[in-house]
């Protein structure tokens, strides 16, 4: 037992968690990139001298879980602590070090207390544009995708590296927003450093060691206990996904041992020629998030709780993409890895794991046409985010039109129409799109939009589940597949690629439904009646799929 009372250690732990949340808020409020403010697509954390993560903000997307932890270790290998000065800040956007694609910038600042380094604060945020082919799967290697900045010193004793900033701006279509976002990251690091030093002063700490040991040991033990409740074994699963040029097979083997869990992607398809490949750090983030939703969700993310989850994959498979393959849209498949991991885990814990869901975001990056820019037409760029249904849960229906695993916020029609020349004419739940089952999958949605002017616009698609629906679990049925058309009579389009939407013609998008859980005939007639009455299911589905016996039979 250390000299510091346990409840005092706990108070300090709570304070660290508050500090990282504060860091996160500081970053989100000052951010320019829409995905950051709408989705909290950021990460903020505090590390000890050994590079162990002690606390991480719970933010909107799981894509950064532990990616930052590895990045900080890498930066510490590269830059010696002895040479660090107060006010130094280090930076990189290397996808294989930071967070899987060039848009994510990672900063790290040493924290000084009593004239020596005691720990680090770090944060990651999504920048709007890094040049190249931009956010889309069309690049054929990382060099096509824009500017890569290797680990470097961005701020030297409080002085920003002006030339570096000029380079970032000169290589972007959104130079002012990029500059604003980098300053937001700097402010986030500084907030964390100031608060951490202030806390050590308040609690009379000279170093973080006793606190770090307490946090890591407590979390490690708690996670170990949680893992002990999972039946030991080796579990396999396979998930077929749309891919770009051809369908892709994702494979996983989950090994539950006494003292850790491994997930291995052996058997997974090779990389694509397009930018949908996933560096392992990002695939790890999403699959570990999914596992931790079931195993020890109440234990905060830190080096102690995360070290018991190990993710591996053969080099060169699409979930362990190697340089220099393109990775800009790594989230399309990254967001499918929870369903892959759940395919394994549901064998071990059949009563705790939900069915497959739409999972991949239906984000619709809209842009003006090249000729609009050339001929003085309306220019705009807007990324709209929509979701399908989540998988049915072990004891309740899935959530309709709700983000999972990502935590993004959808947009509102009235604010969308204020900032871009589009008119949205429909956004409603998709009847019968939730997979049938004892518990029904969440519904997808119908979205229709057209140009609000007489000009065409472009859409850059990279979505999933157009070919392969969300499967049900334990006898539950699959949800409806996604569907994309231009015009109501247009032909069905593939899930990835560029679309031109002519003026006066609607873009028609139907997002996928979630899978059902358990046999449909076990669904209570009361739930069937309610779904029918509220138009969640059609009469045809009620009578056919659900064996509806008419109102009044409430069993």
């Amino acid at each position: 037992m250390s000299a510091i009372p346990q409840t005092r250690l706990q108070v300090m732990w709570n304070r660290l968690l508050a500090v990282v949340e504060e860091q996160g808020q500081a970053l989100i409020r000052a951010a320019f990139s829409p995905i950051v403010r709408e989705s909290g697509d950021i990460s903020a954390g505090i590390f000890d001298l050994r590079g162990r993560m002690l606390a991480q903000a719970v933010t909107g997307t799981p894509g950064h879980i532990n990616t930052m932890a590895e990045a900080v270790k890498h930066l510490l290998d590269r830059f010696s602590i002895q040479n660090m000065q107060p006010g130094d800040i280090y930076m990189t956007n290397d996808p294989w070090l930071a967070s899987g694609h060039l848009n994510d910038f990672l900063l790290m600042q040493p924290v000084f207390h009593k004239n020596r380094v005691v720990g680090f604060t770090s944060c990651t945020s999504h920048l709007a544009d890094l040049g190249g082919k931009g956010m889309g799967p069309e690049g054929s290697d990382i060099f096509d995708e824009g500017l890569l900045i290797p680990p470097c010193k961005l701020v030297d004793r409080g002085e920003i590296h002006e030339f570096l900033m000029e380079v970032v701006k000169a290589n972007s279509r959104e130079p002012i927003a990029n500059e604003g976002d980098i300053y937001a990251l700097i402010a986030c690091c500084e907030t964390g450093a100031t608060r951490l030093a202030g806390m050590m002063e308040e609690f009379g700490l000279d170093d973080l060691d006793p606190l770090a040991d307490y946090i890591i040991e407590t979390s490690y033990k708690g996670t170990l206990d949680a893992i002990a409740e999972v039946p030991k074994g080796v579990y396999h699963s396979t998930l077929n996904v749309d891919g770009y040029e051809h369908p892709i097979t994702l494979c996983a083997t989950l090994t539950v041992a006494d003292d850790h869990i491994t997930l291995d992607f052996d058997g997974t398809s090779r990389c694509s020629d397009k930018g949908i490949n996933v560096p392992l750090n990002y695939a790890t983030a999403y699959s570990v998030f999914a596992l931790r939703c079931i195993i020890g969700p109440d234990i905060p993310n830190n080096a102690g709780s995360l070290e018991l989850f190990r993710v591996t994959g053969p080099k060169g498979c699409i979930l362990n993409a190697q340089r220099p393959v393109p990775v800009a849209m790594r989230h399309s498949l990254g967001q499918m890895t929870p369903d892959l991991a759940y395919g394994c885990l549901s064998q071990a814990l059949p009563d705790m794991v939900p069915a497959e869901g739409a999972s991949c975001l239906y984000d619709l990056p809209l842009r003006h046409t090249p000729e609009a820019a050339r001929d003085g037409g309306t220019t705009f760029a807007l990324e709209l985010v929509y979701n399908g249904g989540t998988g049915a849960r072990p004891s309740s229906d899935g959530l309709s039109a709700t983000a999972f695993p990502s935590g993004v916020w959808g947009s509102q029609i009235e604010t969308t129409e204020a900032v871009a020349p589009v008119l949205i004419t429909r956004r409603e739940l998709r009847e019968d799109s939730g997979g049938a089952g004892k518990y029904r999958g969440g519904l997808g949605q119908h979205i229709e939009m057209e140009s609000a002017t007489d000009e065409d616009f472009l859409v850059f698609l990279s979505v999933e589940r157009v070919l392969f629906p969300a499967a049900g679990r334990h006898g539950g049925e699959a949800g409806a597949k996604g569907r994309i058309r231009v015009g109501h009579d247009g032909s069905d389009l593939p899930s990835k690629g560029e679309i031109r939407v002519p003026a006066g013609t609607p873009l028609v998008v139907a997002t996928p439904g979630g899978g059902g859980f358990g046999p449909v005939l076990e669904r209570s007639q009361r739930d069937v009646t309610r779904d029918l009455k509220s138009g969640i299911i059609s009469e045809k589905a009620a009578l056919g799929t659900y064996g509806y016996r008419g109102a009044g039979d409430d069993k």
Binding site: A18, A26, A30, S219, D298, L399, E428
Partner: protein
């Protein structure tokens, strides 16, 4: 009977008690009373309270020239789901605004979470053709041919109230108005709420939710208010009744009956108004109000004697203290954060061996273990008892017997045992955790508002505020605390300092560079006229204050910053002034501005308020030396971690200018002020206790 005139009375009907305050024309409190709330008919309790204060003051109904009423009835109806059956009508193609919302889970790791119940089920969501665009131009006319079918569907549904929320109605309400006229004609009994009247802001989900909440309580509140008014005039009240709103102002009964959603959360607003008034008398320009009761603690930032305002809050959260788990309501409100931390909050140890406090509360029944009313779980109050911070003999004027041994058993078993700590050590841990929770929530709230806590004066009240103030302040970096007189009563007194006011926030999207100032001026004129009419109904004479605000942001950002506009029509030259004002405020909040980035404006607001007199500063006192303790008591000092003797003072015996060194306890009937070892206490000219942290304490 004394000849009183110019009396003013305030009645605050809470869940348990109805507080009534009577003041004379110079604001001196003549009488206060706490009577049990009468849920079956709350007017009964209110009548009883007012009759009581009149009687003890020897005054008469005819002497009352001002009557202010606040009630939790609207809030409770929403929480307890006792409102009308509501149907919603939205634009064709958008039946599922409610179901879809922001497409978001409020708790990232909770696979099994349930979304909040938003009152209107899908089968009561109807649509009608017709479409306005963002500029308020009609893209398609209202589909009147569909009206008969809609009317019969509404009839079949049995809905007693309807919320109408059509796309972009804040920019052009004509379709909502035509739809209302047609429905009212066909269904005269139907209560109708229009979104552009209830909450004229862009963001269809929030506006619809607000309109539904209004429609839900409208029939109930209209009935209640009309009966309340009739009963009071029947016994002789001649002046108009004014209702307290969530925005911290008063409005007429007529406005309240049409927009009852504005009455929600008016009680806590009264507390913040009182704190702002005290702040002005104490000349404290930068304040954190801290109201800690039995179940929750509420914090509010008050700058320049104005409580911080917001345009949105949440009701009926599925997870009580989790943001995003409730129903959004977008109206002007005083912004307060509520934390599940009060005297009754229950402490436990989780499976990681971490002490957790709240949000579950033992409430007043069964209450803390030390109350010996059947409670066996350890609470924050039990922890305070074990540390000696509550003197058993003087608690609640001795009406309640405090049993420290019961507190010791409860804390020892549930917290001490699992952590191998003695009951007293565990009690200290419980306090540390709950105080850190409150300080942490306060810090976070300040960050989210672009503000800092450090330089603030804390004004602490509520039954547990004065007891925890020094401990929370230390953790929040606050060095100065003010404990007002009668800290257990608050909201009702606060009502008496509120102006008659009305605020309208309305969306109109504009880029600052291309702002059409004459168009915006006309837009403001209309809003001002509407707000003025509401205020004049309650304050027919006297000068009015006008505050115009623009909600601005850099293009592409999600967070808007409030910029106060000049109280006149805008001119072309103002655009540059506005840019500078925005950049200055942005720099203040984020350390730097972003030159070259386009600025956009989403919402505009006008607040019209009757002018209230400024509070005079408290008279200076001369130092009277140290106060003489009445007795002493053993406490566990959280600064040194050791047992110490604390002097005990009865607050009633303390006079202006007297001075006390910590550790000490200042006791009064409703609460105890704990002066920690690193604080000193002094009594100011108003009888407030001023606690100051000693220099040299970090």
């Amino acid at each position: 009977m004394t000849d009183f005139s110019g009396l003013r009375v305030a009645v605050d009907i809470g869940g348990t008690f109805t507080d009534t305050v009577l003041v004379n024309d110079d604001g001196t409190v003549l009488a206060t009373t706490k009577t049990p709330t009468t849920p079956e008919n709350p007017t009964n309790g209110a009548l009883e309270g007012v009759e009581h204060v009149l009687q003890v003051s020897d005054a008469d109904w005819s002497g009352i020239s001002g009557f202010i009423h606040g009630t939790t009835l609207a809030t409770n109806a929403l929480i307890e789901r006792q409102g009308a059956k509501v149907a919603a009508i939205t634009t064709e193609g958008f039946r599922d605004i409610l179901e879809i919302g922001y497409e978001r889970r409020y708790s990232q790791y909770d696979i099994n979470l349930q979304k909040p119940d938003l009152i209107v089920p899908r089968e009561l969501c109807f649509t009608i053709g017709g479409r306005m665009d963002v500029h308020g131009h009609q893209r398609a006319d209202l589909d009147e041919a569909a009206l008969p079918a809609l009317v019969s569907a509404l009839q079949r549904s049995g809905a007693g109230a309807v919320a109408i929320c059509l796309m972009h109605s804040y920019a052009n309400p004509s379709h909502e108005l035509r739809l209302r006229d047609s429905l009212q004609k066909a269904l005269p009994e139907l209560s109708i709420s229009l979104s552009h009247e209830v909450s004229p802001e862009a963001r269809e989900f929030d506006r619809l939710c607000t309109t539904i909440a209004n429609a839900y309580i409208q029939p109930l509140m209209a009935r209640y208010l009309s009966e309340f008014q009739e009963r009071f005039s029947a016994v002789g009240l001649t002046c108009p009744i004014l209702m307290m709103t969530a925005g911290g102002g008063m409005t007429t009964v007529e406005t309240a009956a049409a927009l009852p959603i504005r009455l929600v959360e008016s009680g806590p607003a009264g507390g913040a108004i009182l704190a702002a008034h005290i702040a002005q008398r104490a000349q404290a320009g930068s304040v954190l109000s801290f109201d800690m009761g039995g179940t929750t603690a509420k914090l509010c930032l008050i700058d320049n004697y104005q409580p911080q305002s917001a345009r949105k809050f949440e009701i009926a959260r599925a997870e009580r203290f989790i943001k995003g788990s409730g129903m959004p309501v977008r109206i002007p409100v005083l912004e307060m954060i509520e934390i599940g931390a009060g005297g009754g909050s229950i402490a436990s140890v989780d499976r990681l061996g971490r002490v957790q406090v709240g949000p579950l509360s033992a409430g007043s029944e069964p209450g803390p273990a030390a109350f010996d009313k059947g409670g066996t779980e350890p609470t924050v109050t039990d922890a305070d008892v074990l540390q000696g911070l509550i003197e058993p003999a003087s608690f609640a004027e001795g009406r309640l017997t405090i049993k420290p041994d019961l507190a010791s058993i409860a804390v020892g078993q549930a917290v001490g045992g699992p952590l191998s700590l003695s009951a007293v050590e565990a009690a200290a841990g419980i306090s540390e955790i709950v105080d850190e929770n409150m300080a942490g929530a306060g810090r976070m709230h300040a960050v989210e508002s672009g503000k800092d806590l450090g330089a603030r004066t804390m004004i602490a009240f509520g039954g547990n505020g004065p007891l925890h103030a020094t401990r929370v302040a230390r953790r929040a970096g606050v060095r100065r605390i003010l404990i007002p007189r009668d800290p257990g009563v608050g909201s009702a007194v606060g009502f008496l300092f509120a102006p008659v006011s009305f605020e309208i926030v309305r969306s109109r999207y504009a880029r600052l560079d291309s702002l059409d100032v004459s168009d915006i001026s006309r837009f403001f004129d209309t809003m001002t006229e509407e707000a003025e009419a509401v205020v004049r109904a309650g304050a027919p004479v006297g000068e009015l204050n006008y505050t115009r605000t623009a909600f601005m942001r850099y293009h592409g950002q999600g967070h808007e910053i409030e910029i106060t506009l000049p109280d006149r029509s805008l001119e072309a030259g103002d655009i540059e002034t506005l840019r500078l004002a925005f950049e200055a405020e942005y720099s203040r909040q984020f350390s730097r501005s972003v030159p070259g980035m386009e600025i956009e404006i989403l919402n505009w607001s006008v607040q019209v308020a009757s002018r209230t007199s400024e509070a005079d500063a408290i008279a200076k006192t001369t130092a009277q030396g140290s106060a003489k303790p009445d007795r002493s008591h053993d406490i566990l000092c959280e600064v040194s971690g050791e047992r110490r003797k604390a002097s005990i003072y009865d607050r009633g015996n303390l006079g202006p200018g007297q001075y006390i060194e910590g550790p000490a306890l200042i006791v009064e009937p409703q609460t105890t002020t704990y002066v920690s070892a690193d604080f000193t206490a002094a009594i100011d000219g108003d009888g407030n206790i001023i606690l100051e942290r000693l220099e040299g304490q970090s």
